[in-house]
């Protein structure tokens, strides 16, 4: 009956939360004992009755009518029910993969209807917010690991660890398991993870006669921020000298609305937090810069406006003051062949493989500061805390995250899988530089700063980054931003 928890997640924050899990384990144990006593050692058919207890159900894992992946909850209901799943819209060929999966699910469980709701990616959070506010939300919603603390504190998501096999939880990349957990509870099964890679257009570098970035598999073996800026500066000057006035050394960001300040989590925070150091003294500004926010997640002053952070933002600003990158949103420069370097996720690669653009390209790690740093964040389906069908909703999440569905999703969409066994099963992650580097970046990345108000933080810092790119003073801008964020985070105290 013992329900092992992951032992490798012994990070500081988890201790308090484990007490909650222990209590439940204890209750489950007593229940079993009592039942055992009453039945005088007979086998326990009733064990399955105890709500979402993994012990009995785990044994039954193979008895589900379908490969429910890591699911370890009770057998699904035989009553006719409808599960609602809100997610971002994907292109038709990716939708087709999911629709195929639902068909399979409904074939095995004809009483369970899956009703999808598809929302433009940028509106997901807003819609979740309105749903939660109205008290009625879809059973499963696509969330993000960045916001797990808020899902926990706001009692928005259902803890899922009791519904999953421990082998499954252990299989998730450690950093992503950590990112998907809060106070010892596991809230969302990350189904792909995002980290930033540096893609480059070999032809442009060749034309300018500038050496390309190192194509390595180690995240620590790439360019430093200084080397990066120097190389791009040289590239720009040589291109201009050749009369090329349209090619940019660094293409505009294509996240969100594009341009500087488009997505602090996934791009600009890398410049800042890579100037920090996780191994520095806990009281040092280097350590605080790395964290990005205080341990309790409620203060940015002293974390976002450190000398190290200012240095990171000053580096970032140089990209614009030296005219290495356009100061506005320009769509798709890299794939159009007018941007020498582009920062984006792994699925860009699958896109490039399919499209076969008119140029040669390669990949290198994101430029490192004091440390090599990447900010992983993962889309992860969460289960609405008040769903009437917690087991079925968890089973749907587990099913969508099973090996077959994840591999199909990877093959179609090309984003990074999150489970170690999957990564090991896909050959290119072991033998091709781009994918080896991706695997290293995925495994070594850090999540977004842990704050219950990361959404506020993120939304407050984006325009500041943009103003810095347009010439604002990094130090005073970051100081103001930190003060503003402190004010925004006050409501969570």
């Amino acid at each position: 009956m013992s329900r092992p928890t992951r032992t490798d997640d012994a990070s500081a924050g988890l201790t308090a939360a484990n007490s909650g899990m222990n209590r439940r384990r204890f209750l489950a144990g007593t229940a079993a004992l009592a039942a055992g006593g009453m039945l005088m050692g007979r086998p326990l058919p009733a064990a399955a009755q105890e709500a979402p207890a993994k012990g009995a159900a785990a044994r039954a894992a193979s008895s589900y009518k379908l490969d429910l992946g890591g699911y370890a909850g009770p057998e699904l209901t035989s009553q006719p029910i409808t599960l609602k799943f809100m997610r971002q819209e994907f292109p038709p060929h990716v939708n087709a993969v999911l629709e195929e999966a639902y068909k399979e699910f409904s074939a095995a469980y004809p009483n369970i209807t899956i009703q999808e709701e598809k929302v433009p990616y940028g509106d997901l959070q807003k819609k979740m917010q309105i749903y939660v506010g109205s008290g009625a939300a879809p059973d499963v919603m696509m969330g993000r690991t960045d916001f797990i603390e808020a899902y926990h504190a706001g009692n928005i998501a259902l803890p899922l660890q009791d519904y999953f096999l421990d082998e499954f939880l252990h299989d998730i990349l450690d950093n992503q398991f950590k990112a998907a957990s809060a106070k010892g509870n596991f809230y969302g099964a990350p189904w792909e993870t995002y980290f930033t890679m540096m893609y480059f257009n070999r032809d442009i570098f060749k034309k300018a006669g500038v050496p390309t970035p190192p194509e390595v598999t180690d995240v620590n073996a790439g360019w430093t921020a200084e080397e990066f800026i120097a190389a791009l500066d040289e590239l720009t000057q040589k291109l201009r000298a050749q009369g090329d006035s349209t090619t940019w050394a660094l293409s505009a960001a294509t996240h969100g609305n594009g341009g500087p300040g488009a997505n602090y989590t996934q791009v600009e925070s890398l410049w800042v937090r890579s100037q920090g150091d996780p191994n520095a003294d806990k009281g040092s500004s280097a350590y605080k810069t790395f964290l990005g926010v205080s341990e309790d997640g409620l203060q940015a002053t002293g974390y976002l406006d450190t000398p190290e952070a200012v240095k990171g933002m000053a580096n970032y600003q140089q990209l614009f003051t030296k005219k290495l990158a356009p100061p506005t949103a320009v769509p798709n420069q890299f794939v159009s062949g007018v941007g020498a370097i582009h920062f984006t996720g792994l699925n860009q690669a699958s896109r490039l493989f399919q499209q076969k653009p008119a140029f040669e390209w390669g990949a290198s790690p994101f430029p490192r500061g004091r440390i090599a740093f990447n900010c992983n964040s993962s889309d992860c389906p969460i289960v609405w805390s008040k769903t009437p069908y917690p087991a079925e909703a968890a089973a749907l999440v587990a099913y969508l995250c099973n090996d077959a569905n994840r591999i199909r999703f990877y093959k179609t969409w090309g984003s990074m899988p999150v489970r170690k066994s999957l990564i090991a099963a896909i050959p290119e992650f072991g033998n091709q530089q781009l994918f080896q580097l991706s695997a290293a970046a995925a495994a070594s990345g850090q999540g977004a700063p842990r704050s219950v108000g990361w959404f506020d933080y993120f939304n407050a810092i984006n325009p500041v980054v943009r103003d810095i790119a347009l010439g604002g003073d990094p130090e005073s801008q970051l100081k103001q931003a930190a003060t503003r964020i402190d004010g925004l985070l006050r409501k969570y105290r």
Binding site: K84, M86, Q88, E89, F90, P91, P92, H93, Q115, E116, E117, K118, V119, P120, Y121, G122, D123, K126, K127, I130, G133, S134, A136, P138, S245, T246, T254, H255, V330, P331, N332, Q333, V335, S336, G337, V338, T344, G345, N347, Q348, R351, Q355
Partner: protein
């Protein structure tokens, strides 16, 4: 094409030739200005239409640097339209938009005409106070009341219905205001005559008042249609059934995929949804263009 100029000329046959010349050159100038204005206003839309005839890859690479290729599809293709009407099933979204827009227009016309007439012509206690209060309601934007509006619609049990797409905005103060102003322009004598003949309020409204405000009604129809056509935030929030989702949200989806530009289908979709409104504007223009025979009030 018969012209105002010739009408004016016939109205004052004894004017000298120089005046006619002046008028003629004024007309030429006017024509030039009209066409220039048309080109300026059409340009951004025409650009979207041009893009819709290019492969996504070509749109991206033709944009920068600016060249002839930026404005002309050198390798025209219909593949975007095939995508939009094929795998993306955009026609379904257009149909949904059409249903929502029609519902909104019908309700807006009924509500605004009735209320506009009552506020313009009928006397009843509290009339002006109620009118001012109703106007106040138009000052608030949907972004500002999204959450309470959602709760109300949910409470009414309308979530994910077609009705929910348009009902909250079907009646709006602008329409009432427009119709009220238009009804007040009708000479009172027309209605007085009918009243003396014993016609009741409803008969006067339908047989005298409404026929005299058709241009305003046409404006109301067109503007309401455009608003319904362009609604985005509310449908995103209230519609949970992808099968009933409207075209603007489908368009937003096309530009939301990271590292997967769908600019071609996006511009094709944007072009397609502009066309019905332009056709509607042309269809309704008979109400805006005076026939030479008609002179003012009927």
């Amino acid at each position: 094409m018969s012209t105002v100029a010739s009408a004016a000329a016939s109205a004052r046959p004894r004017r000298r030739r120089s005046a006619a010349t002046r008028l003629f050159s004024a007309r030429t100038l006017g024509t030039v200005v009209v066409i220039l204005a048309g080109i300026v206003f059409a340009f951004p839309i025409a650009l979207a239409a041009v893009y819709s005839l290019k492969a996504t890859q070509d749109i991206l690479s033709d944009q920068y640097p600016l060249s002839l290729a930026s404005f002309i599809p050198l390798r025209p293709t219909l593949e975007n339209y095939q995508t939009v009407f094929g795998p993306l099933n955009f026609q379904n979204n257009i149909l949904n938009t059409l249903i929502a827009a029609t519902g909104q227009v019908v309700m807006a016309v009924v509500c605004s005409t009735l209320a506009g007439y009552a506020f313009a012509r009928l006397r009843f206690p509290g009339r002006d106070v109620i009118f001012s209060l109703l106007l106040l309601a138009s000052f608030v934007s949907v972004e500002a009341i999204l959450v309470p509006l959602y709760s109300i619609t949910q409470w009414l049990g309308l979530t994910s219905t077609y009705v929910a797409l348009f009902l909250p905005f079907a009646c709006n103060p602008f329409g009432i205001y427009l119709m009220r102003q238009s009804f007040r322009e009708i000479p009172v004598e027309l209605e007085e005559a009918a009243r003396l003949d014993g016609a009741n309020v409803w008969r006067i409204l339908f047989s005298i008042a409404i026929p005299n405000v058709l241009p305003a009604l046409a404006t109301l129809v067109l503007i309401q249609f455009i608003w319904a056509w362009n609604a985005y935030l509310w449908p995103v929030v209230i519609m949970q059934d992808p099968g009933k989702q409207i075209a603007q949200v489908a368009l937003a989806n096309m530009k939301s995929f990271p590292n997967f530009p769908m600019d071609g289908p996006l511009f094709a979709g944007a072009t397609v949804i502009t066309i019905p409104l332009v056709i509607m504007a042309i269809f309704l223009q008979k109400y805006y263009v005076r026939g030479l025979s008609s002179s003012g009030m009927k």
